[in-house]
C-alpha cells in the first residue's frame, strides 16, 4: 500500500491525503468546508494535496469579488496553503478548457521553499485528465467536496 517514499521515521508512515474539489465557490458550502478541513488537517502532518476539477476550478479564479453578495471572499486563503506545508494544487486542464478558462485566469499562488532560501515556487500544477486520474490512483485517502 505504501511504497516507503512518504514515510517520516519515528512519527510513522505519512499518508497521502487528497482533497478533491469539484464545485464552484459560494453557491454551496462545499468549497469553504473543504478549505477549512484542509487547514485543520494540516496539523496532522500528512502528505496533503488538493485537486480541482469540473466546476471546482472556479475556486481558484483571480479577481473574485463577493462584496455585493454579502459573503466572505475566501480565495486569498489559498495563498496561505504554502505556510501550511501544502505544496501541491492540481488543476485539470480539460475542466478549464470546457469552461472557457485558461491557466492565466487563475490566481498566482506560490509557496516559499525554506530549504532553498525562501525561493518562491508555484503551488498550482496544471495536469491533463489522464495525469490527474493517475494522481488520484496514487492516494491513500480521498476526501470529496
Amino acid at each position: 500500500m505504501n511504497d516507503g517514499k512518504a514515510t517520516n521515521g519515528a512519527a510513522g508512515a505519512k499518508k497521502r491525503f487528497m482533497y478533491v474539489n469539484r464545485k464552484a465557490p459560494y453557491g454551496t458550502i462545499y468549497a469553504l468546508e473543504s478549505l477549512e478541513v484542509v487547514l485543520i488537517s494540516a496539523a496532522f502532518e500528512q502528505d496533503v494535496s488538493l485537486a480541482f476539477l469540473d466546476d471546482g476550478v472556479y475556486q481558484l479564479t483571480k479577481g473574485q469579488n463577493t462584496t455585493a453578495i454579502g459573503m466572505k471572499n475566501f480565495s486569498p486563503t489559498f495563498k496561505a496553503l504554502g505556510d501550511y506545508e501544502i505544496k501541491k494544487l492540481y488543476v485539470e486542464k480539460e475542466s478549464l478548457d470546457e469552461r472557457g478558462l485558461a491557466p492565466e485566469d487563475l490566481m498566482q499562488i506560490t509557496y516559499e521553499d525554506e530549504d532553498e532560501d525562501y525561493a518562491e515556487k508555484p503551488l498550482i500544477h496544471i495536469v491533463s485528465r489522464s495525469e490527474l486520474t493517475e494522481i488520484l490512483a496514487r492516494q491513500d485517502v480521498l476526501f470529496n467536496f
Binding site: L39, A43, F74, T77, A80, D83
Partner: protein, 111 residues
Amino acid sequence: MDAYVLDSHSYEHDEEGYLKNLSEWNKELAVLIAVDEKIEMSDEHWEVVNFLRDYYEEYQVAPAIRVLVKAMKKTFGPEKGEQKYLYQLFPYGPAKQACKIAGLPKPTGCV
C-alpha cells in the same frame, strides 16, 4: 448578546470573547480585551497582534500556531519565531489569546 463596553460604546463578542465584527476593532478595544485575558500589552505583544492582523488582511484566515511561529521566524528572526517566546507573551495559547486581542476569529482548527 455579550459585549465589550468602551466609552459607552458596546462591541459584540461571541461566548468565548471573540469580536463579532472585526471591522469594529481599535487599539483601545484591544487593550480592554487584553485586560480580560490578564495581559498587559507591551511592544512585544503589539508586534504579534499587528502581525496577526496583517496576516488576516492578506489571507483572510487566522494562522494556526505552527504557521504563526514559522511566519514570525521569517519576519522577526529565530528568537521570536519560537513557540516558547509566544507562550511567554500569551500564556493561554498565543493563537487563541492574540487572535482574540487582535479582533480576529478563532483560528481554524484551534479547539
